[in-house]
């Protein structure tokens, strides 16, 4: 993955260490693991903030609501999720 948002490492006693790139959803902060050689369409992009988002309906089917907005809302006493 080009410019991954993170990296995961699974260490097992019986097999090889499994490593994978991850990205963090720009709308809900969820960590998504990207399988090796994943199709380019595996990652959804928000066409408003132009950042990777997860496939959750809450992130994908509604207007752009970035995590920063959610944090601001929660800090002003509002609801974290719309």
């Amino acid at each position: 993955m080009l410019r991954p948002g993170g990296y995961s490492t699974l260490i097992t006693p019986d097999g090889p260490t499994v490593e994978a790139d991850t990205f963090t959803c720009a709308h809900c902060n969820k960590v998504v693991e990207v399988p090796p050689r994943a199709d380019v369409n595996f990652i959804s992009m928000c066409r408003c903030c132009m950042k990777p988002i997860c496939n959750s309906p809450r992130c994908n089917n509604f207007a752009c609501d970035p995590i920063e907005k959610k944090l601001d809302r929660a800090e002003k006493g509002g609801s974290f999720f719309l």
């Binding site: 097992t12 019986d14 990205f23 963090t24 809450r58």
Partner: protein, 156 residues
């Protein structure tokens, strides 16, 4: 910003893993020292008798703390002051977790260890709102031993 390490061996008694979620580490903001927090490194594993069981690890958002042992996160730089975030470990009563707010779920074999590291800008962030934060928790349909979890984070 100051960085800290919090794990469930810092304080309290490790709780047995069971069929319902057990919180190992909970990090949240506190009114007196309000600040955002960013978790950027998570390490998980078990320290019970080795066997083949599945464990489901989860990080979700909490809006109210459970009942656990208060731990003092360790500053990665000894020159830093104490963390402004609240850290509860080895909960005996689960915190209030926001429905469908899971940030991280991974099912792994009991014998395995797992680590996730965030690139800068991709951390798990919690708001500067009292008692709001994240919890690292685990369940297993078969394993009844203890587990270890560590979260590295920074105060904002």
């Amino acid at each position: 910003m100051a960085k800290y390490s919090a794990n469930n061996l810092l304080a309290g008694t490790q709780q047995a893993v069971g069929a319902t979620y057990k919180t190992l580490v909970g990090l949240s903001a506190a009114t007196a020292t309000l600040c955002r927090g960013k978790a950027y490194d998570v390490l998980i594993g078990t320290d019970g008798t080795p066997a083949d069981n599945v464990l489901r690890w989860d990080i979700s958002r909490q809006t109210a703390a459970g009942t656990g042992t208060s731990a003092t996160p360790v500053p990665l730089d000894p020159a830093d002051t104490a963390s402004r975030s609240t850290c509860l470990v080895n909960d005996t009563v689960e915190p209030t977790v926001t429905a469908s707010s899971s940030l991280f779920v991974v099912g792994i074999n009991q014998r395995a260890s797992y680590r996730w590291v965030a690139a800068p800008g991709s951390e798990l962030v919690w708001p500067a709102t009292n008692a709001n934060g994240i919890v690292l928790r685990v369940l297993s349909p078969g394993y009844t031993g203890t587990a270890t979890g560590e979260v590295l984070y920074e105060d904002q």
